[in-house]
Symmetry: C2
Subunit: 156 residues, 2 copies
């Protein structure tokens, strides 16, 4: 079943293309709810314990940061693309704490593309992404490859 042609396909992701999207407000309640379910370390749950930690105050789980990255990535282009998913993640760096009240902005740059060897209808799009807070501080960077359908199959 072909995707509507209006969707972004592999050919639309030229290296150097940049997407920017956000902002996403992070509340104290969001931070504690995520940590309670997935990362119940005191520094993500309790202000006093967090002050004693390397983070110096309540901060979101790094995996919460990754999950918010995904939300922004979906809104930035994935939901209007012929994306098929991703085989994994090449690298994540947690650079600075994500605090209650932060508003996060996503910047994505396409760093490379290549056709799939095994699926002639598909290609890979390599991205380098950065989440920044309102002060412009990079709180997280990430590198990954996404599988996206090609408009036309590979030439025979």
């Amino acid at each position: 079943m072909p995707d509507p042609a209006s969707k972004l396909h592999w050919e639309d992701f030229a290296p150097g293309r940049v997407f920017e999207h956000g902002d996403l407000l992070v509340t104290r309640e969001d931070i504690v709810a995520f940590a309670s379910e997935f990362d119940p370390q005191p520094m993500h749950l309790d202000e006093e314990a967090a002050r004693q930690s390397m983070l110096g105050g309540l901060a979101a789980s790094g995996w919460h940061g990754c999950s918010m990255f995904m939300r922004l990535l979906a809104e930035a282009f994935v939901l209007r693309s012929a994306s098929m998913g991703a085989p994994g993640v090449d690298e994540v760096k947690w650079l600075a704490p994500i605090r209650p009240g932060d508003r996060l902005t996503l910047r994505i740059e396409v760093t490379g593309t290549r056709p799939s060897n095994s699926r002639p209808d598909t290609g890979f799009v390599q991205i380098a992404a950065a989440l920044r807070n309102r002060s412009g501080v990079e709180v997280m960077t990430l590198k990954s490859s996404i599988m996206i359908r090609r408009r036309e199959g590979a030439p025979a």
Copy 2:
């Protein structure tokens, strides 16, 4: 403020040490709730759309898998260790879909350790982790380094 000596410290993580922990039940409601908040792609939200996708049926967001990995990691040893957090993730591979009804087990192997250059009270512990379902299929693997306090500072 020193940690209680009973906690696991950097010296306790000899290369080759293995931790196993689980099982964690994944429900359809869990999958849809996570996806609704963080990864609203149809293949994580809707059975019919998922059947048309590469996943062949409803499956958890890869980031949901990472978040459940963190939950199991916390329970496996982080919450009873002098862990200080992690600077990032070296690699994630999403190998097979996580389905409603799956029960996930975590296996972690310590693959290396090194003292921190900048913090004599701290060391890094490298881990290779795998999430498996009840059939023994690896659904996800992950490599990372965790910062853990040393029992004694480095020799002068």
